[in-house]
């Protein structure tokens, strides 16, 4: 794969409009007669709804309607369909669009108020009188496992929704024979996605046909359509869902949300357009979160540093519902054994319901959790043996000559997971070279002279990308010679338009400016899955390539017929098909498109099919595995406990780079998210399930002043599993970052310091550890 644009760091086609303030986000949509919605939400974590009195609220200025779940009974009823059904979940654990009889976390939507503006809707929401019987809540997943714990769902006999297991090899046998066994307990804390744009929905109804049109700030518009159609018992064709510009996603916007259903039901009921824009307070209590897990793991290893087997158990805090099924624990299990060539593995995850905001993937899903576990264990083994951390990894990693490497774990479809390509030791060696690990002790000493402690951290990861089943794209040349790409893949800022235009422009010999990309509108492309799991470059990118090459072949066939020249003697360039070496002997794409668009009574040349267009779907039947090795240096202030990341180096291999500028941007943003997980982001609830960190004064996000520059080096091992040789890049920055930073902090605290098995860490932690506690 190479061309004028594929592989070039071209600036993004998206940017000019966004920079000029001309983006069109969901809150920028203004429809005539539109009402504004506000939700009445649960203010405590568990309770039974006795009654909802809307009388006073309905009489307030500007209020048009207030609906509860009971008011929708003539349209639809029951819980929402599950997004990812799983045989272990006998009964789906999904929300009702509005709470039915029980509220199960602070923030759960109970009623929807429609008014002439948002302020009036919020005033009225505050005036709705709720009579809710208090029920005991549980906010700690470990306590929730105990038999006498309050139940998150009062009708359930247990809070353990499912127990998932995975493993391979003779774990007991390897443990019995290994030179050493260590046990560690890990605590990974919950955080949020915090896209700068919260969620939002604008829905409308056609008063003649009842057809619905929904704009939503979503990563999964086609899933919204599918599940809404099923819930409303309508044909998908009667529901158009589209995503306008979306201000960041990072995972949680991949869910189909209760608010999307409730707003749509309110539109059907009121027969008015309705807008709901989530505010930041709602985002903290109603948008899914992630990462809360505790693990107890045993690792078996030999005197030479080779890690041989891991076994253990996880308690996974799933929150109050499982909108996305068991996707998180399943991803955790599938992320083992990472880059390590283990002989055996035996893991079990208890998926535990708590009266907290539900969880679903946040950038990396459970891959950052597993990278943290594996990398911390590798450091632990090195420390135990008095060996270099990198040496343990070199001896334990899958080697390049073992590729393709079957890990022993099964993918979600039951097929064996097989790493397609890569050089994990090579990546580690390169990152150590780039950060100049050899001379680190000199830097440590220099830092010490300034009264601070310096540490070097390392962490590697493998990332499954290109999750199936497919995305698709159509490529069409208009009679004006412009290229229109339509795809179901939604965008949240990743630069898809630019990347797809690069692929198509190369295939069709046009300029980037000639290409328009339309994403995620169910009226413009029939099918789509979701922008999750670092899958769009592989799935949609390959689809664009396949469709563009079909169009190319058609243009060449046309020109061959018209010019009476063999197809092999033709090439595309400058918006035309021309004879190789004779640029003037050509037919413009616009002319071919015009001819294939047809003229009354005139047969098409060569009896060709109409339209210079093609559609293709790329079935991503086998995952492709990106990987990376990170190294960073931190400075710890022993007086204040402040940790400062002073250098961060990434070696990353995501196969062929479509656009290095965009890939580097994905990695940088991803690393910073991981640094946030390591040092700042802590979603805290009290024992009653009340969230305590619901502002950005309390919940700390990484800011410019605290972030280092991120130095990136690419290795490009083309994937053999798709036509453009790419692997996903959306999460590879985040996955090892928290592990890398914590590794550096531990190194800074020295051989007498603790083994750090949790994140985020705070200055209080550091000071306590330095005091020897």
């Amino acid at each position: 794969m190479s061309g004028r644009f594929f592989g070039a760091a071209v600036t993004r086609l998206e940017d000019a409009r966004l920079l000029a303030g001309k983006g069109q986000y969901v809150d920028d949509i203004d429809l005539p007669g539109m009402l504004h919605a506000a939700f009445v939400r649960a203010s405590f974590a568990h309770g039974r709804i006795r009654s909802i009195d809307t009388g006073d609220a309905l009489a307030m200025p500007g209020v048009v309607a207030i609906y509860t779940m009971a008011d929708f009974a003539d349209i639809a009823h029951g819980p929402m369909p599950p997004m990812a059904p799983h045989p272990l979940l006998k009964t789906p654990i999904t929300y009702h669009p509005l709470a039915d009889t029980e509220i199960r976390h602070v923030g759960e939507a109970i009623a929807i108020v429609l008014a002439d503006n948002r302020a009036n809707a919020e005033d009225a929401a505050a005036a709705v009188t709720l009579d809710i019987e208090y029920l005991p809540a549980v906010s700690d997943a470990a306590l929730a496992c105990e038999a006498n714990s309050p139940k998150t769902h009062s009708q359930h006999a247990s809070n353990i929704a499912a127990t998932m297991k995975a493993g391979f090899g003779d774990c007991a046998g390897v443990f019995a024979k290994a030179d050493h066994v260590l046990t560690e307990h890990f605590d990974i804390h919950r955080g949020g996605c915090h896209s700068m744009e919260c969620r939002g929905v604008v829905a409308n109804i056609d008063l003649l046909t009842d057809a619905l049109t929904i704009s939503t700030s979503s990563q999964s518009p086609y899933m919204v359509r599918r599940h809404l159609a099923a819930y409303l018992k309508r044909d998908e064709n009667d529901i158009r869902v589209m995503t306008p510009d979306v201000g960041g996603g990072f995972g949680p916007k991949a869910n189909v949300y209760a608010e999307e259903f409730a707003v749509t039901l309110a539109v059907i009921k009121s027969r008015r357009p309705v807008k709901w824009i989530e505010d930041r307070q709602e985002h903290f209590v109603a948008t899914t979160q992630q990462r809360g897990q505790t693990w107890t793991l045993d690792v078996a290893f030999d005197n030479d540093g080779r890690m041989r087997a891991i076994r253990g158990r996880c308690i996974h805090d799933n929150g109050a519902y499982a909108p996305y099924g068991l996707i998180l624990p399943a991803t955790a299990l599938a992320s083992f054994p990472g880059p390590y060539a283990l002989e055996a593995l035996d893991l079990s995850i208890d998926v535990v319901l708590t009266n907290l905001v539900p969880t679903s993937p946040v950038r990396g899903a459970c891959r950052p959790n597993v990278a943290f576990l594996l990398e911390r264990l590798a450091d632990r083994v090195a420390r135990h043996l008095g060996m270099d951390r990198q040496e343990v990894r070199r001896r334990s990693f899958v080697r390049a000559d073992q590729m393709p490497y079957t890990t022993g774990i099964k993918a979600r479809d039951g097929s064996p997971i097989s790493y397609d390509s890569g050089d994990y030791v090579g990546a580690l060696n390169l990152v150590l070279d780039k950060i100049d690990a050899t001379n680190f002790e000199a830097r440590r000493n220099e830092t010490k002279r300034r009264g601070k402690l310096r540490g070097l951290g390392i962490a590697s990861c493998v990332e499954d990308t290109g999750l199936g089943p497919f995305e698709g794209a159509s490529v069409r040349v208009t009679p004006a010679g412009k290229v229109i790409i339509a795809t179901g893949a939604s965008s949240q800022g990743q630069g898809h338009r630019t990347a797809f235009a690069q692929i198509a422009a190369d295939a069709l010999g046009v300029e980037l400016e000639d290409v328009t990309v339309e994403t995620a509108d169910t009226a413009k492309f029939p099918l789509g899955i979701s922008t999750i799991a670092s899958r769009i470059a592989v799935t949609a990118g390959s689809s664009v390539q396949l469709a563009a090459h079909k169009v190319r072949a058609k243009a060449i066939a046309f020109a061959s017929h018209q010019l009476e020249v063999g197809e092999h003697d033709l090439e595309l360039d400058g918006g035309a098909v021309h004879v190789k070496g004779i640029p003037d002997m050509k037919i413009k794409l616009s002319e071919i498109a015009r001819t294939l668009a047809g003229n009354t009574g005139v047969p098409l040349p060569g009896d060709m099919e109409p339209d210079l267009a093609a559609t293709a779907y790329f079935n991503s039947n086998a995952l492709t595995f990106a990987y990376g090795a990170n190294a960073c240096e931190v400075e710890v202030d022993p007086e204040t406990g402040d940790v400062s990341v002073v250098r961060y180096v990434v070696v990353h291999d995501c196969g062929r780079l479509i656009n290095p500028l965009i890939v580097d941007g994905q990695i940088r943003g991803g690393v910073v998210h991981g640094i946030g997980n390591a040092l700042f982001e802590r979603m805290i609830y009290d024992e009653e399930g009340q969230p305590l960190t619901t502002t950005y004064g309390d919940y700390l996000l990484p800011m410019a002043f605290e972030m280092p520059r991120i130095e990136i080096h690419h290795m490009e091992t083309p994937s053999p599993r798709n036509p453009i040789g790419v692997k996903g890049a959306g999460e590879g920055g985040t996955i090892p970052a928290a592990a890398c930073v914590i590794s550096a902090v531990e190194d800074a605290l020295g051989p007498d310091g603790p083994f750090i098995a949790l994140h985020p860490i705070s200055p209080q932690h550091v000071v306590t550890w330095l005091d020897g506690n």
């Binding site: 000019a16 000029a20 983006g23 203004d30 960041g248 410019a704």
Partner: protein, 159 residues
Amino acid sequence: MTEHSVTFTLNGERREARVDPRIHLGDFLRHSLGLTGTHLGCEHGVCGACTVIVNGAPVRSCLMLAVQIDGTVVETVESLGKPGALSPLQQAFATNHGLQCGFCTSGMLMTLEAYLRTTPAPTEQDVRIAISGNICRCTGYEGIVQAALDTASAKASRT
């Protein structure tokens, strides 16, 4: 609620409007005047996405009431370059990949626009402090910082 009259200069144009006293400047710009380039990210004054310039200073439009703009000069992202003719700072954002989803971008631009007027030769550390009241979840800040540095040095070399 009694509406109040306000007279102000918006992006170089003198404007008069009647405003509900409880409406903040961000909502007023977006929903009353249709200037949707200003974005609301947190509405509690931390994320900086809604930053506009009032009387030359960067202001969080979610923390200022619309009635307070009476007699002031207000600048929003719409006063910078247009899509076909970006300002040097906007162009530097594109060149350095200083934006992804674009949602925090208007606030970043207006913060830096005000900052660079008064600080023509900042260091990297200075720029990071200048945008320490603006959250970006996408970029890791590096492209934004570099865009500001490039804009300052390009301007210095022209003068």
